[in-house]
């Protein structure tokens, strides 16, 4: 099966494992090379600092014409992530281009942790708090990071 995996995916996987982006690991599952176990470290100086966030990523049949599917598995308090871990990010939807890669997607998600965008929310209650009481929102994001995203020892 591995032999018939598109070269583009083989290439991307090699680069991801050989030269991982700082704070990001993506490892394909042995039984499905289009399905990746992803870990993103919370960026320093963000509410997610110190957290290890687990995500899953899947390259659908029409990748790279269609974007990868990706979502958080670790609970996170963020205006652009919903209760099922789905992510509101333009490049995962209408701004996707086949010139982008798994790496760019994961870097964008890491950047979204540094710069939440409550004006384009996926979770309205989270976004509301983010706008009306940013201090409370940041405190809650920090608390959730400590509770749910503590880096495994």
């Amino acid at each position: 099966m591995a032999a018939s995996l598109p070269r583009r995916i083989v290439k991307e996987t090699q680069r991801l494992t050989q030269e991982p982006a700082p704070g990001i690991t993506a490892t394909p599952y042995e039984d499905n090379l289009r399905y990746f176990n992803v870990l993103i470290s919370g960026p320093s100086e963000s509410c997610y600092d110190g957290g290890q966030f687990k995500l899953e990523l899947f390259l659908p049949a029409d990748y790279p014409m269609a974007p990868p599917k990706v979502r958080f598995l670790t609970k996170i308090f963020h205006p652009n992530v919903d209760k099922l871990g789905r992510i509101c990010l333009d490049i995962l939807k209408d701004k996707w281009s086949p010139a982008l890669q798994i790496r760019t997607v994961l870097l964008s998600i890491q950047a979204l942790l540094s710069a939440p965008n409550p004006d384009d929310p996926l979770d309205n209650t989270v976004a509301e708090l983010w706008k009306t009481d940013p201090d409370a929102a940041h405190a809650k994001a920090t608390e959730w990071t400590r509770t749910y995203a503590r880096a495994a020892a």
């Binding site: 099966m1 090379l33 399905y35 899947f58 049949a61 599917k69 209760k83 099922l84």
Partner: protein
């Protein structure tokens, strides 16, 4: 593309959820998560309308569906919470999946299960059975 693309369990269930959320056809079958924060999308509520022209017509049946960690390699566990009398359903409401969906395939989904139950209502062996009072639960 020559490789055999297998959509992994969680993304498959997300697709199923999004399809149900959009609503489909005549809404004779519907389903959603019991807990909207269930990150592994395991436990579902479902409802089916009784098939027209059968003793089940006009009745709304509620079910609980459990998509375990090995779904959809293995079928989900399905249980009626509304009482029903059918040959593939036990006296406590548990659906015999081997009987309902023999030769389960990876491509089969929750919607398929619900549609198969509606097909089952059309079988003469089930049309003959006496039904419990409407809306009685287990």
């Amino acid at each position: 593309m020559g490789d055999n693309v297998v959509v992994p369990r969680n993304f498959r269930l997300l697709e199923e959820l999004e399809k149900f959320e959009k609503g489909q056809g005549d809404m004779s079958v519907s389903a959603g998560l019991v807990d909207p924060e269930d990150i592994f999308l395991t436990n579902w509520n479902a409802a089916i309308m009784g098939t027209a022209g059968t003793p089940f017509e006009g009745r709304l049946y509620s079910l609980l569906i459990e998509c375990g960690p090995r779904y959809p390699t293995v079928p989900p566990n399905v249980k009626f919470t509304t009482q029903i009398n059918m040959s593939c359903v036990s006296s406590t409401g548990v659906v015999d999946m081997k009987k309902l969906c023999p030769g389960w395939k990876y491509s089969n989904d929750v919607e398929h299960v619900l549609n198969m139950l509606r097909t089952e209502m059309n079988k003469s062996e089930n049309k003959r059975l006496r039904q419990p009072p409407e809306a009685a639960t287990y």
